[in-house]
């Protein structure tokens, strides 16, 4: 290394020697309680609604356990119509963009082979 780079190296690591331990301490402090962490992981399905902008919202569905039904599709139901958002195949986080709703969003997870509703969510607009 040449002298200017040695100086940058010196400054960078002096800074990181402060920043990294500080970040570590903050991350430990803000960590949710263990009971809360376990509770979230135990649920098979969870859903969230987030507004992206004036016209668009985002629906996130988390499938936390392997599906027990042969099929699972997601419908976004409003008083006027039912909209098919997509299919859930296996564990993971699924995200669907929808038009920004006027009020509460109702989602239905349906086993189309048995024509049964597996789970319903009512997601209020934040």
């Amino acid at each position: 290394m040449i002298k200017p780079l040695r100086r940058y190296h010196f400054i960078i690591w002096r800074t990181l020697a402060f920043v990294l331990p500080f970040s570590f301490a903050v991350a430990i402090i803000v960590r949710p309680p263990a009971s809360e962490i376990r509770g979230e992981a135990a649920d098979a399905f969870s859903a969230e609604l987030a507004m992206l902008n004036d016209s668009t919202a985002l629906v996130t569905i988390n499938v936390g356990k392997p599906l027990a039904t042969p099929s699972c599709v997601v419908y976004y139901d409003s008083p006027e119509k039912r909209t098919l958002l997509g299919r859930l195949d296996h564990q993971g986080e699924y995200r669907f963009r929808i038009e920004r709703p006027a009020g509460t969003v109702t989602l239905n997870l349906v086993d189309v082979i048995h024509q049964q509703t597996i789970r319903s969510f009512s997601l209020p607009e934040h």
């Binding site: 780079l5 040695r6 190296h9 690591w13 920043v19 570590f24 903050v26 991350a27 263990a34 986080e93």
Partner: protein, 343 residues
């Protein structure tokens, strides 16, 4: 130092280095997968891939970051430095597997562009515990990608050692991003203290090594002001080992004073290849040999032996009694200077 282009200058050491890396990677992945399947039989293949590659990439990143300061503090570690870029490229590929599988698993399902989803699916940018930590990993992977594709002498030659080295020093920013990626990601959802303990140990080790090495280097960077054409007493010839050098700092950059065959010559301490410390090398076959990658220079004129074309600055040096005196005014690179003689 190549006279003509060859994609990779393979030698025995590089092959051994790469085989050791490949064996370690394979051993780690097999061990991680086996232990995880035993402890948690319900784990999915996607989770296994994501977690095994994540932990392996972070482990390799710590090893890579430790090699530099270890080699500065103790030359025993220099062989690890020679082909460090192979380790870096391996780490990038493993990190890329982690990144791609994570995006597929968490963002490619649904009707949103996966990369767009990575930035917009979690909008808790004002929360620490729910912060979209994947963003940190994404930007770190971009840095690793730039480093991996420029980890070749073609780019070193075309960018120049200073730009190339500066680009590759962004690995420190990438390391900070990776630490944040873990701290605000998995650590927020992990109840076992093992991960936090291992990460804390890694951070403390890397930061301590770099601070120690930079402090060690900083001691030599206190310049001494001298007048024009003035000789300064640098050391005694007895302070220098045969075919070795003593590094002194009397001007803008360090000077390496080499002793060989009852002669003393001085050249810039900075190798033309990757700015390696020539003064920590030795004279092999009559040539100063850089300890980092073996680039060679003739001690009396600072030029690489033909057909190679690299040159470093030279200095006037003389020996009075047993004392070595040096003029810190550098001559143009490759200028022949008469060596100082002693009995």
């Amino acid at each position: 130092m190549s006279a003509s282009y060859q994609a990779i200058l393979w030698n025995r050491q590089k092959k051994i280095y790469d085989r050791v890396i490949a064996a370690f990677v394979l051993l780690y992945l097999v061990t991680f997968v086996s232990l995880t399947v035993v402890v948690n039989p319900g784990v999915t293949q996607e989770t296994l891939i994501i977690r095994s590659t994540a932990t392996l990439a972070i482990l390799l990143l710590h090893v890579i970051l430790a090699i530099g300061p270890l080699a500065r503090l103790n030359p025993v570690f220099l062989p690890l430095l020679y082909n460090r870029r192979h380790l870096g490229v391996t780490m990038f590929f493993i990190g890329a597997v982690h990144g791609v599988f994570s995006i597929i698993q968490f963002h490619a399902l649904g009707n949103i562009n996966p990369v767009l989803s990575l930035f917009t699916s979690n909008t808790h940018y004002n929360s620490l515990s729910k912060f979209p930590f994947e963003v940190f990993g994404f930007f770190a992977l971009i840095i690793f990608f730039l480093m991996a594709i420029t980890s070749h002498d073609f780019w070193l030659h075309n960018l120049g050692p200073r730009v190339w080295k500066t680009l590759h020093m962004t690995v420190y920013a990438a390391y900070a991003l990776i630490v944040l990626h873990v701290l605000l990601g998995i650590l927020q959802y992990e109840t076992s203290p093992v991960l936090a303990t291992v990460l804390a140990t890694g951070i403390v080790t890397i930061v301590s090594l770099h601070v120690l090495a930079s402090r060690h280097e900083h001691r030599f960077d206190q310049p001494v002001t001298v007048g024009h054409e003035q000789f300064i007493k640098a050391c005694s010839v007895d302070d220098i080992g045969e075919k070795r050098a003593k590094v002194v700092h009397f001007g803008a950059e360090r000077i390496a004073i080499f002793k060989y065959n009852n002669q003393v010559s001085a050249v810039s301490n900075v190798c033309k290849h990757q700015h390696g410390p020539l003064g920590e090398g030795k004279i092999i076959d009559g040539c100063i040999t850089c300890p980092w990658h073996g680039y060679q220079y003739l001690p009396h004129n600072g030029s690489s032996p033909p057909p190679f074309k690299e040159k470093v600055a030279t200095y006037d040096v003389k020996v009075i009694g047993r004392d070595v005196w040096i003029n810190p005014q550098a001559f143009p690179e490759g200028t022949e200077r008469t060596p100082g003689m002693y009995e």
